[in-house]
Protein backbone atom coordinates (compact mmCIF):
# COMPACT_ATOMS: atom_id res chain seq x y z
CA UNK A 1 0.00 0.00 0.00
CA UNK A 2 1.30 3.44 -0.81
CA UNK A 3 1.37 6.13 1.81
CA UNK A 4 -1.75 8.32 2.00
CA UNK A 5 -1.40 11.67 0.20
CA UNK A 6 -1.09 14.75 2.43
CA UNK A 7 -4.06 16.53 0.91
CA UNK A 8 -6.29 13.72 2.14
CA UNK A 9 -5.44 14.38 5.78
CA UNK A 10 -8.11 15.96 7.93
CA UNK A 11 -7.08 19.39 9.11
CA UNK A 12 -5.74 19.75 12.60
CA UNK A 13 -7.37 23.15 13.05
CA UNK A 14 -10.84 21.78 12.43
CA UNK A 15 -10.35 18.91 14.82
CA UNK A 16 -9.09 21.17 17.56
CA UNK A 17 -12.03 23.50 16.99
CA UNK A 18 -14.57 20.72 17.37
CA UNK A 19 -12.76 19.44 20.46
CA UNK A 20 -12.74 22.84 22.14
CA UNK A 21 -16.37 23.54 21.26
CA UNK A 22 -17.63 20.31 22.75
CA UNK A 23 -15.50 20.90 25.84
CA UNK A 24 -16.95 24.37 26.27
CA UNK A 25 -20.52 23.18 25.84
CA UNK A 26 -20.06 20.51 28.52
CA UNK A 27 -18.59 23.01 30.94
CA UNK A 28 -21.50 25.34 30.23
CA UNK A 29 -24.04 22.63 30.96
CA UNK A 30 -22.23 21.72 34.17
CA UNK A 31 -22.14 25.33 35.27
CA UNK A 32 -25.88 25.70 34.80
CA UNK A 33 -26.53 22.64 36.95
CA UNK A 34 -24.11 23.68 39.65
CA UNK A 35 -25.40 27.24 39.56
CA UNK A 36 -28.89 25.95 40.21
CA UNK A 37 -27.79 24.04 43.26
CA UNK A 38 -25.74 26.93 44.59
CA UNK A 39 -28.70 29.25 44.16
CA UNK A 40 -30.98 26.99 46.17
CA UNK A 41 -28.43 26.71 48.94
CA UNK A 42 -27.92 30.44 48.92
CA UNK A 43 -31.60 31.23 49.23
CA UNK A 44 -32.10 28.76 52.07
CA UNK A 45 -28.97 30.00 53.80
CA UNK A 46 -29.92 33.65 53.45
CA UNK A 47 -33.42 33.20 54.78
CA UNK A 48 -32.70 30.69 57.45
CA UNK A 49 -29.36 31.75 58.87
CA UNK A 50 -30.79 34.55 60.94
CA UNK A 51 -32.71 32.14 63.10
CA UNK A 52 -29.90 29.77 63.93
CA UNK A 53 -28.83 29.93 67.55
CA UNK A 54 -28.28 27.53 70.37
CA UNK A 55 -31.80 27.96 71.66
CA UNK A 56 -33.06 27.11 68.17
CA UNK A 57 -31.69 23.65 68.63
CA UNK A 58 -32.66 23.17 72.24
CA UNK A 59 -36.10 24.65 72.60
CA UNK A 60 -39.07 22.68 71.42
CA UNK A 61 -41.54 24.28 69.07
CA UNK A 62 -44.24 26.36 70.64
CA UNK A 63 -47.83 26.46 69.55
CA UNK A 64 -48.91 29.20 67.24
CA UNK A 65 -47.74 32.54 68.26
CA UNK A 66 -45.75 31.71 71.38
CA UNK A 67 -42.28 33.24 71.33
CA UNK A 68 -38.88 31.52 71.54
CA UNK A 69 -39.82 28.38 69.74
CA UNK A 70 -37.12 26.10 68.48
CA UNK A 71 -36.96 22.88 66.57
CA UNK A 72 -35.52 20.58 69.20
CA UNK A 73 -38.55 18.31 69.31
CA UNK A 74 -38.77 18.16 65.54
CA UNK A 75 -35.08 17.31 65.27
CA UNK A 76 -35.45 14.53 67.79
CA UNK A 77 -38.58 13.33 66.07
CA UNK A 78 -36.88 13.21 62.70
CA UNK A 79 -34.07 11.20 64.17
CA UNK A 80 -36.50 8.77 65.81
CA UNK A 81 -38.55 8.35 62.67
CA UNK A 82 -35.50 7.90 60.44
CA UNK A 83 -33.91 5.34 62.76
CA UNK A 84 -37.21 3.52 62.88
CA UNK A 85 -37.42 3.56 59.10
CA UNK A 86 -33.93 2.09 58.84
CA UNK A 87 -34.75 -0.66 61.29
CA UNK A 88 -37.95 -1.56 59.48
CA UNK A 89 -36.86 -1.13 55.88
CA UNK A 90 -33.16 -1.99 55.59
CA UNK A 91 -32.93 -5.59 56.87
CA UNK A 92 -35.60 -7.00 54.52
CA UNK A 93 -34.11 -5.00 51.66
CA UNK A 94 -30.62 -6.34 52.35
CA UNK A 95 -31.84 -9.90 52.59
CA UNK A 96 -33.90 -9.41 49.45
CA UNK A 97 -30.90 -8.05 47.60
CA UNK A 98 -28.81 -11.00 48.73
CA UNK A 99 -31.52 -13.37 47.52
CA UNK A 100 -31.73 -11.68 44.12
CA UNK A 101 -27.99 -11.65 43.57
CA UNK A 102 -27.00 -15.03 44.98
CA UNK A 103 -29.96 -17.35 44.65
CA UNK A 104 -32.55 -15.77 42.43
CA UNK A 105 -30.66 -15.02 39.26
CA UNK A 106 -32.91 -15.90 36.38
CA UNK A 107 -35.66 -17.44 38.48
CA UNK A 108 -39.28 -16.39 37.95
CA UNK A 109 -39.54 -15.30 41.56
CA UNK A 110 -36.36 -13.28 41.31
CA UNK A 111 -37.51 -11.54 38.17
CA UNK A 112 -40.88 -10.80 39.73
CA UNK A 113 -39.28 -9.28 42.82
CA UNK A 114 -36.97 -7.14 40.76
CA UNK A 115 -39.79 -5.92 38.57
CA UNK A 116 -41.94 -5.05 41.59
CA UNK A 117 -39.07 -3.14 43.18
CA UNK A 118 -38.62 -1.11 40.03
CA UNK A 119 -42.29 -0.25 40.01
CA UNK A 120 -42.22 0.66 43.69
CA UNK A 121 -39.38 3.09 43.12
CA UNK A 122 -41.56 5.06 40.77
CA UNK A 123 -44.46 5.40 43.21
CA UNK A 124 -45.16 8.98 44.33
CA UNK A 125 -44.28 9.44 47.99
CA UNK A 126 -47.70 10.93 48.74
CA UNK A 127 -49.34 7.70 47.58
CA UNK A 128 -47.11 5.77 49.94
CA UNK A 129 -48.16 8.09 52.72
CA UNK A 130 -51.82 7.50 51.98
CA UNK A 131 -51.26 3.79 51.85
CA UNK A 132 -49.71 3.72 55.31
CA UNK A 133 -52.49 5.98 56.47
CA UNK A 134 -54.99 3.41 55.33
CA UNK A 135 -53.30 0.36 56.77
CA UNK A 136 -51.69 1.70 59.93
CA UNK A 137 -53.04 5.05 61.01
CA UNK A 138 -56.72 4.15 60.75
CA UNK A 139 -56.51 0.75 62.51
CA UNK A 140 -54.27 2.34 65.16
CA UNK A 141 -56.79 5.10 65.61
CA UNK A 142 -54.38 7.87 65.14
CA UNK A 143 -51.08 9.09 63.72
CA UNK A 144 -47.77 7.95 65.18
CA UNK A 145 -44.07 8.16 64.62
CA UNK A 146 -44.14 4.48 63.91
CA UNK A 147 -46.46 4.99 60.97
CA UNK A 148 -44.10 7.67 59.71
CA UNK A 149 -41.20 5.24 59.95
CA UNK A 150 -43.22 2.64 58.10
CA UNK A 151 -43.94 5.05 55.26
CA UNK A 152 -40.29 6.01 54.96
CA UNK A 153 -39.31 2.34 55.13
CA UNK A 154 -41.58 1.59 52.19
CA UNK A 155 -39.81 4.32 50.24
CA UNK A 156 -36.35 3.08 51.22
CA UNK A 157 -37.00 -0.58 50.62
CA UNK A 158 -36.84 -0.81 46.80
CA UNK A 159 -33.83 1.52 46.61
CA UNK A 160 -31.76 -0.50 49.07
CA UNK A 161 -32.92 -3.73 47.45
CA UNK A 162 -31.71 -2.71 44.04
CA UNK A 163 -28.43 -1.17 45.15
CA UNK A 164 -27.68 -4.23 47.26
CA UNK A 165 -28.34 -6.50 44.32
CA UNK A 166 -26.24 -4.34 41.98
CA UNK A 167 -23.31 -4.15 44.37
CA UNK A 168 -23.35 -7.87 45.01
CA UNK A 169 -23.53 -8.64 41.31
CA UNK A 170 -20.39 -6.58 40.79
CA UNK A 171 -18.42 -9.03 42.92
CA UNK A 172 -16.71 -11.37 40.42
CA UNK A 173 -17.93 -14.94 40.17
CA UNK A 174 -14.41 -16.18 40.77
CA UNK A 175 -14.71 -15.15 44.41
CA UNK A 176 -17.95 -17.09 44.79
CA UNK A 177 -16.41 -20.13 43.19
CA UNK A 178 -13.34 -19.87 45.42
CA UNK A 179 -15.44 -19.90 48.53
CA UNK A 180 -17.63 -22.75 47.29
CA UNK A 181 -14.56 -24.70 46.22
CA UNK A 182 -13.36 -24.60 49.82
CA UNK A 183 -16.52 -26.33 50.97
CA UNK A 184 -18.47 -23.24 51.99
CA UNK A 185 -22.24 -23.50 51.66
CA UNK A 186 -24.10 -21.11 49.33
CA UNK A 187 -25.66 -19.15 52.19
CA UNK A 188 -22.43 -18.77 54.10
CA UNK A 189 -20.60 -17.71 50.97
CA UNK A 190 -23.25 -15.11 50.24
CA UNK A 191 -23.28 -13.57 53.68
CA UNK A 192 -19.75 -13.98 54.96
CA UNK A 193 -17.70 -13.58 51.84
CA UNK A 194 -19.65 -11.78 49.15
CA UNK A 195 -21.32 -9.22 51.38
CA UNK A 196 -18.03 -8.59 53.10
CA UNK A 197 -16.39 -8.00 49.77
CA UNK A 198 -19.12 -5.59 48.67
CA UNK A 199 -19.36 -4.05 52.11
CA UNK A 200 -18.54 -0.48 51.19
CA UNK A 201 -20.92 -0.54 48.24
CA UNK A 202 -23.74 -1.90 50.37
CA UNK A 203 -23.29 0.69 53.09
CA UNK A 204 -23.07 3.47 50.54
CA UNK A 205 -26.34 2.32 49.06
CA UNK A 206 -28.03 2.35 52.46
CA UNK A 207 -26.73 5.76 53.39
CA UNK A 208 -27.77 7.29 50.10
CA UNK A 209 -31.25 5.83 50.58
CA UNK A 210 -31.39 7.38 54.04
CA UNK A 211 -30.33 10.71 52.67
CA UNK A 212 -33.09 10.46 50.13
CA UNK A 213 -35.91 9.78 52.54
CA UNK A 214 -34.71 12.00 55.39
CA UNK A 215 -36.26 15.01 53.77
CA UNK A 216 -39.49 13.47 52.48
CA UNK A 217 -42.53 15.42 53.56
CA UNK A 218 -45.59 13.98 51.84
CA UNK A 219 -45.60 10.58 53.54
CA UNK A 220 -45.15 12.14 56.96
CA UNK A 221 -48.09 14.45 56.45
CA UNK A 222 -50.51 11.59 56.79
CA UNK A 223 -48.64 9.38 59.15
CA UNK A 224 -46.57 11.15 61.79
CA UNK A 225 -48.33 14.43 61.22
CA UNK A 226 -47.41 17.19 63.61
CA UNK A 227 -47.13 17.92 67.28
CA UNK A 228 -45.59 20.56 69.53
CA UNK A 229 -44.79 18.09 72.22
CA UNK A 230 -41.62 16.13 72.75
CA UNK A 231 -41.74 12.83 70.83
CA UNK A 232 -42.29 10.53 73.75
CA UNK A 233 -44.94 8.13 72.56
CA UNK A 234 -43.58 6.81 69.36
CA UNK A 235 -46.32 4.29 68.73
CA UNK A 236 -49.35 6.23 69.73
CA UNK A 237 -48.97 9.94 69.29
CA UNK A 238 -48.21 12.17 66.35
CA UNK A 239 -44.47 12.89 66.27
CA UNK A 240 -42.87 16.23 65.54
CA UNK A 241 -40.52 16.18 62.59
CA UNK A 242 -38.54 18.68 60.53
CA UNK A 243 -40.12 18.32 57.05
CA UNK A 244 -43.66 18.83 58.35
CA UNK A 245 -42.45 21.67 60.54
CA UNK A 246 -41.14 23.40 57.46
CA UNK A 247 -44.53 22.95 55.79
CA UNK A 248 -46.47 24.19 58.79
CA UNK A 249 -44.31 27.18 59.58
CA UNK A 250 -43.16 28.39 56.27
CA UNK A 251 -46.45 28.16 54.42
CA UNK A 252 -49.36 27.55 56.76
CA UNK A 253 -48.52 29.95 59.52
CA UNK A 254 -49.44 33.66 59.53
CA UNK A 255 -46.71 34.49 62.02
CA UNK A 256 -43.52 36.08 60.82
CA UNK A 257 -41.35 34.36 63.44
CA UNK A 258 -42.59 31.02 62.38
CA UNK A 259 -41.82 31.80 58.78
CA UNK A 260 -38.26 32.49 59.74
CA UNK A 261 -38.18 29.40 61.93
CA UNK A 262 -39.44 27.42 58.95
CA UNK A 263 -36.58 28.65 56.83
CA UNK A 264 -34.18 27.82 59.62
CA UNK A 265 -35.56 24.32 59.80
CA UNK A 266 -35.29 24.02 56.03
CA UNK A 267 -31.67 25.05 56.29
CA UNK A 268 -31.04 22.42 58.96
CA UNK A 269 -32.65 19.66 56.93
CA UNK A 270 -30.75 20.67 53.80
CA UNK A 271 -27.45 20.76 55.64
CA UNK A 272 -28.11 17.41 57.30
CA UNK A 273 -28.85 15.71 53.99
CA UNK A 274 -25.89 17.40 52.34
CA UNK A 275 -23.63 16.32 55.17
CA UNK A 276 -24.83 12.74 54.96
CA UNK A 277 -24.28 12.58 51.21
CA UNK A 278 -20.85 14.17 51.23
CA UNK A 279 -19.50 12.23 54.19
CA UNK A 280 -20.74 8.94 52.73
CA UNK A 281 -18.95 9.58 49.50
CA UNK A 282 -15.76 10.74 51.18
CA UNK A 283 -15.51 7.91 53.69
CA UNK A 284 -16.21 5.18 51.23
CA UNK A 285 -14.09 6.62 48.50
CA UNK A 286 -11.09 6.52 50.79
CA UNK A 287 -11.86 3.03 51.95
CA UNK A 288 -11.95 1.84 48.38
CA UNK A 289 -8.62 3.31 47.45
CA UNK A 290 -6.78 2.54 50.61
CA UNK A 291 -7.45 -1.18 50.86
Amino acid sequence: MTAIAPEKRRGLFRRKLVDRTVGLLSILALSIAVAGMVWILWVVLARGASVISLSFFTEPSKPYGAPDGGIANALLGTIEITVGAILIGVPPALLGGIYLAEFGKGTKLGNAIRFSANVMMGMPSVVVGLFIYAILVIPMHGPSGFAGSAALAVLMFPVVLRTTEDMLLMVPDALRESALALGCSRARTAVRIICRSARSGLVTGIMLAIARVAGETAPLLFTAMWSDAWPKHYFSEPTANLPVLVTEYATNSPFEEQHAAGWGAALVVTLLVLLLNISTRIIFKERHNGR
Partner: protein
Amino acid sequence: MDVEEKIKISVRNLDFFYAGGHQALFGNCLEIPANRITAVIGPSGCGKSTHLRVYNRIFELYRGQSATGEVRIDGENILAPEVDVLELRRKVGMIFQKPTPFPMSVFDNVAYPMRLHFKLSKSEIADRVENALRGASLWEEVKDKLKKSGLALSGGQQQRLCIARAIAAEPEILLMDEPTSAVDPVATLKIEDLVLQLRERFTVVIVTHNMQQASRISDYTAFFYKGEIIEFDKTEKIFTNPSCKKTEEYITGRFG
Protein backbone atom coordinates in the same frame (compact mmCIF):
# COMPACT_ATOMS: atom_id res chain seq x y z
CA MET B 1 1.17 -45.60 32.47
CA ASP B 2 3.38 -47.64 34.78
CA VAL B 3 1.51 -50.57 36.27
CA GLU B 4 2.52 -49.62 39.81
CA GLU B 5 0.82 -46.21 39.69
CA LYS B 6 -2.03 -45.90 42.17
CA ILE B 7 -5.09 -44.28 40.60
CA LYS B 8 -6.68 -41.40 42.49
CA ILE B 9 -9.42 -40.26 40.10
CA SER B 10 -11.05 -42.62 37.65
CA VAL B 11 -13.33 -41.11 35.01
CA ARG B 12 -15.63 -43.23 32.87
CA ASN B 13 -17.91 -42.04 30.08
CA LEU B 14 -18.19 -38.51 31.35
CA ASP B 15 -20.56 -36.32 29.35
CA PHE B 16 -21.17 -32.68 30.20
CA PHE B 17 -24.00 -30.40 29.12
CA TYR B 18 -24.36 -26.65 29.37
CA ALA B 19 -27.74 -24.97 29.94
CA GLY B 20 -29.81 -25.33 26.81
CA GLY B 21 -28.52 -28.81 25.98
CA HIS B 22 -25.22 -27.90 24.36
CA GLN B 23 -22.80 -30.79 24.95
CA ALA B 24 -19.25 -29.88 25.94
CA LEU B 25 -17.65 -33.21 26.94
CA PHE B 26 -18.04 -36.47 25.07
CA GLY B 27 -17.42 -39.81 26.74
CA ASN B 28 -14.30 -38.76 28.64
CA CYS B 29 -12.32 -41.63 30.14
CA LEU B 30 -9.27 -40.83 32.22
CA GLU B 31 -7.25 -42.20 35.12
CA ILE B 32 -5.40 -39.66 37.19
CA PRO B 33 -2.53 -41.21 39.18
CA ALA B 34 -2.11 -40.35 42.86
CA ASN B 35 0.67 -38.03 44.04
CA ARG B 36 1.59 -37.06 40.53
CA ILE B 37 1.13 -33.91 38.53
CA THR B 38 -1.16 -34.41 35.55
CA ALA B 39 -1.33 -31.60 33.03
CA VAL B 40 -4.36 -31.06 30.82
CA ILE B 41 -3.62 -29.27 27.56
CA GLY B 42 -5.58 -28.38 24.47
CA PRO B 43 -6.72 -25.42 22.36
CA SER B 44 -9.15 -22.81 23.72
CA GLY B 45 -12.67 -24.05 24.20
CA CYS B 46 -11.75 -27.72 24.04
CA GLY B 47 -13.34 -28.51 27.39
CA LYS B 48 -10.32 -28.83 29.65
CA SER B 49 -11.58 -26.40 32.31
CA THR B 50 -15.07 -27.84 32.01
CA HIS B 51 -13.67 -31.31 32.69
CA LEU B 52 -11.66 -30.11 35.68
CA ARG B 53 -14.70 -28.44 37.22
CA VAL B 54 -16.54 -31.73 37.33
CA TYR B 55 -14.11 -33.11 39.90
CA ASN B 56 -15.42 -30.80 42.63
CA ARG B 57 -18.90 -30.28 41.18
CA ILE B 58 -18.37 -26.54 41.12
CA PHE B 59 -20.45 -26.40 37.93
CA GLU B 60 -23.54 -26.91 40.11
CA LEU B 61 -23.38 -23.21 40.96
CA TYR B 62 -24.82 -22.54 37.52
CA ARG B 63 -28.36 -23.50 36.69
CA GLY B 64 -28.77 -25.88 33.79
CA GLN B 65 -25.30 -27.41 33.73
CA SER B 66 -25.12 -31.16 34.26
CA ALA B 67 -22.72 -34.07 34.09
CA THR B 68 -23.47 -37.75 33.46
CA GLY B 69 -21.18 -40.72 33.80
CA GLU B 70 -18.89 -41.85 36.57
CA VAL B 71 -16.15 -39.99 38.33
CA ARG B 72 -14.67 -42.12 41.07
CA ILE B 73 -12.34 -40.62 43.62
CA ASP B 74 -10.81 -43.37 45.76
CA GLY B 75 -13.47 -45.66 44.41
CA GLU B 76 -16.48 -43.54 45.34
CA ASN B 77 -18.55 -42.02 42.51
CA ILE B 78 -18.69 -38.34 43.37
CA LEU B 79 -21.43 -37.55 40.86
CA ALA B 80 -23.96 -39.58 42.84
CA PRO B 81 -26.68 -37.42 44.43
CA GLU B 82 -26.13 -38.73 47.96
CA VAL B 83 -22.54 -37.46 48.09
CA ASP B 84 -21.77 -34.76 50.68
CA VAL B 85 -20.71 -32.00 48.32
CA LEU B 86 -19.22 -29.77 51.02
CA GLU B 87 -16.96 -32.56 52.20
CA LEU B 88 -16.06 -33.35 48.58
CA ARG B 89 -15.01 -29.76 48.10
CA ARG B 90 -12.85 -29.89 51.18
CA LYS B 91 -11.09 -32.97 49.84
CA VAL B 92 -10.74 -31.54 46.36
CA GLY B 93 -9.28 -28.03 46.49
CA MET B 94 -9.30 -25.64 43.56
CA ILE B 95 -7.10 -22.75 42.50
CA PHE B 96 -8.43 -20.37 39.88
CA GLN B 97 -6.86 -18.37 37.10
CA LYS B 98 -7.38 -15.03 38.79
CA PRO B 99 -6.13 -14.93 42.40
CA THR B 100 -9.15 -14.52 44.71
CA PRO B 101 -8.11 -13.66 48.26
CA PHE B 102 -11.05 -13.07 50.60
CA PRO B 103 -11.59 -9.52 51.88
CA MET B 104 -9.91 -10.19 55.20
CA SER B 105 -6.42 -10.38 56.66
CA VAL B 106 -3.82 -12.84 55.39
CA PHE B 107 -4.17 -14.83 58.60
CA ASP B 108 -7.95 -15.00 58.38
CA ASN B 109 -7.79 -16.02 54.74
CA VAL B 110 -5.73 -19.09 55.56
CA ALA B 111 -7.61 -19.82 58.76
CA TYR B 112 -11.01 -19.61 57.07
CA PRO B 113 -11.28 -23.19 55.81
CA MET B 114 -9.87 -24.48 59.08
CA ARG B 115 -12.53 -22.66 61.06
CA LEU B 116 -15.12 -23.84 58.57
CA HIS B 117 -14.36 -27.55 58.69
CA PHE B 118 -12.55 -28.25 61.94
CA LYS B 119 -12.87 -27.46 65.62
CA LEU B 120 -9.44 -26.20 66.60
CA SER B 121 -8.02 -24.11 69.40
CA LYS B 122 -6.52 -20.72 68.71
CA SER B 123 -2.96 -21.95 69.03
CA GLU B 124 -3.62 -24.94 66.79
CA ILE B 125 -5.01 -22.64 64.14
CA ALA B 126 -2.01 -20.33 64.41
CA ASP B 127 0.35 -23.30 63.99
CA ARG B 128 -1.51 -24.67 61.03
CA VAL B 129 -1.71 -21.28 59.36
CA GLU B 130 2.06 -21.05 59.59
CA ASN B 131 2.38 -24.56 58.17
CA ALA B 132 0.08 -23.82 55.29
CA LEU B 133 1.92 -20.60 54.48
CA ARG B 134 5.24 -22.43 54.63
CA GLY B 135 3.78 -25.11 52.41
CA ALA B 136 2.91 -22.41 49.91
CA SER B 137 6.40 -20.86 50.07
CA LEU B 138 4.84 -17.67 51.38
CA TRP B 139 5.64 -17.66 55.10
CA GLU B 140 8.91 -15.72 54.88
CA GLU B 141 7.30 -13.00 52.83
CA VAL B 142 4.19 -12.46 54.94
CA LYS B 143 5.08 -13.50 58.48
CA ASP B 144 5.22 -9.84 59.52
CA LYS B 145 2.12 -8.93 57.61
CA LEU B 146 -0.36 -11.49 58.83
CA LYS B 147 -2.86 -8.85 59.86
CA LYS B 148 -2.68 -7.00 56.59
CA SER B 149 -5.47 -7.45 54.07
CA GLY B 150 -4.98 -10.29 51.64
CA LEU B 151 -5.76 -7.87 48.85
CA ALA B 152 -2.66 -5.82 49.62
CA LEU B 153 -0.27 -8.53 48.36
CA SER B 154 1.20 -8.68 44.86
CA GLY B 155 -0.42 -10.88 42.21
CA GLY B 156 2.01 -13.76 42.62
CA GLN B 157 1.74 -13.57 46.40
CA GLN B 158 -2.04 -13.52 46.22
CA GLN B 159 -2.04 -16.67 44.16
CA ARG B 160 0.26 -18.39 46.63
CA LEU B 161 -2.06 -17.20 49.38
CA CYS B 162 -4.92 -18.91 47.59
CA ILE B 163 -2.82 -22.06 47.41
CA ALA B 164 -2.05 -21.82 51.14
CA ARG B 165 -5.76 -21.37 51.80
CA ALA B 166 -6.61 -24.37 49.68
CA ILE B 167 -4.10 -26.63 51.40
CA ALA B 168 -5.21 -25.40 54.83
CA ALA B 169 -8.38 -27.43 54.33
CA GLU B 170 -6.24 -30.58 54.23
CA PRO B 171 -7.37 -31.74 50.79
CA GLU B 172 -6.14 -34.79 48.95
CA ILE B 173 -6.44 -33.42 45.45
CA LEU B 174 -5.54 -29.98 44.13
CA LEU B 175 -7.15 -28.75 40.93
CA MET B 176 -5.48 -25.80 39.25
CA ASP B 177 -7.17 -23.95 36.42
CA GLU B 178 -4.44 -22.00 34.57
CA PRO B 179 -2.98 -20.80 37.87
CA THR B 180 -0.17 -18.73 36.40
CA SER B 181 -1.79 -17.07 33.41
CA ALA B 182 -2.67 -13.90 35.35
CA VAL B 183 0.74 -13.68 37.03
CA ASP B 184 4.13 -12.28 35.93
CA PRO B 185 6.85 -14.66 34.64
CA VAL B 186 9.07 -14.58 37.73
CA ALA B 187 6.13 -15.35 40.01
CA THR B 188 5.09 -18.03 37.53
CA LEU B 189 8.34 -19.89 38.04
CA LYS B 190 7.99 -19.60 41.82
CA ILE B 191 4.52 -21.07 41.63
CA GLU B 192 5.72 -23.87 39.36
CA ASP B 193 8.43 -24.77 41.87
CA LEU B 194 5.76 -24.77 44.54
CA VAL B 195 3.54 -27.10 42.53
CA LEU B 196 6.44 -29.52 42.13
CA GLN B 197 6.86 -29.59 45.91
CA LEU B 198 3.13 -30.04 46.49
CA ARG B 199 3.20 -33.23 44.50
CA GLU B 200 4.56 -35.09 47.55
CA ARG B 201 1.43 -34.49 49.59
CA PHE B 202 -1.32 -34.09 47.02
CA THR B 203 -2.53 -35.28 43.65
CA VAL B 204 -2.32 -32.30 41.32
CA VAL B 205 -4.30 -31.78 38.13
CA ILE B 206 -3.34 -28.62 36.31
CA VAL B 207 -5.05 -27.14 33.27
CA THR B 208 -2.68 -25.00 31.25
CA HIS B 209 -2.58 -23.44 27.83
CA ASN B 210 1.17 -22.98 28.17
CA MET B 211 2.68 -26.14 26.78
CA GLN B 212 6.14 -25.42 28.04
CA GLN B 213 4.69 -25.25 31.53
CA ALA B 214 3.07 -28.63 31.04
CA SER B 215 6.32 -30.11 29.79
CA ARG B 216 8.31 -28.52 32.61
CA ILE B 217 6.39 -29.69 35.61
CA SER B 218 3.97 -32.52 34.83
CA ASP B 219 4.45 -36.27 35.04
CA TYR B 220 1.48 -37.11 32.84
CA THR B 221 -0.27 -35.10 30.17
CA ALA B 222 -3.77 -35.38 28.74
CA PHE B 223 -4.56 -33.73 25.42
CA PHE B 224 -8.12 -32.52 24.92
CA TYR B 225 -9.69 -31.55 21.64
CA LYS B 226 -13.32 -30.54 21.06
CA GLY B 227 -14.50 -32.13 24.28
CA GLU B 228 -12.72 -35.45 23.78
CA ILE B 229 -9.55 -36.84 25.27
CA ILE B 230 -7.30 -37.55 22.31
CA GLU B 231 -4.25 -38.85 24.13
CA PHE B 232 -3.09 -39.44 27.69
CA ASP B 233 0.42 -40.60 28.47
CA LYS B 234 3.64 -39.82 30.29
CA THR B 235 4.70 -36.26 29.56
CA GLU B 236 8.07 -37.26 28.15
CA LYS B 237 6.38 -39.52 25.62
CA ILE B 238 3.83 -36.90 24.58
CA PHE B 239 6.52 -34.33 23.95
CA THR B 240 9.08 -36.54 22.18
CA ASN B 241 6.90 -38.98 20.30
CA PRO B 242 3.12 -38.64 20.65
CA SER B 243 1.01 -41.50 19.32
CA CYS B 244 -1.69 -39.39 17.73
CA LYS B 245 -1.29 -37.10 14.79
CA LYS B 246 -3.60 -34.49 16.31
CA THR B 247 -1.49 -34.35 19.43
CA GLU B 248 1.64 -33.90 17.34
CA GLU B 249 0.01 -31.12 15.33
CA TYR B 250 -1.12 -29.29 18.44
CA ILE B 251 2.13 -29.40 20.38
CA THR B 252 4.24 -28.42 17.39
CA GLY B 253 2.04 -25.38 16.92
CA ARG B 254 0.35 -26.31 13.68
CA PHE B 255 -3.01 -25.25 15.12
CA GLY B 256 -4.61 -23.96 18.28
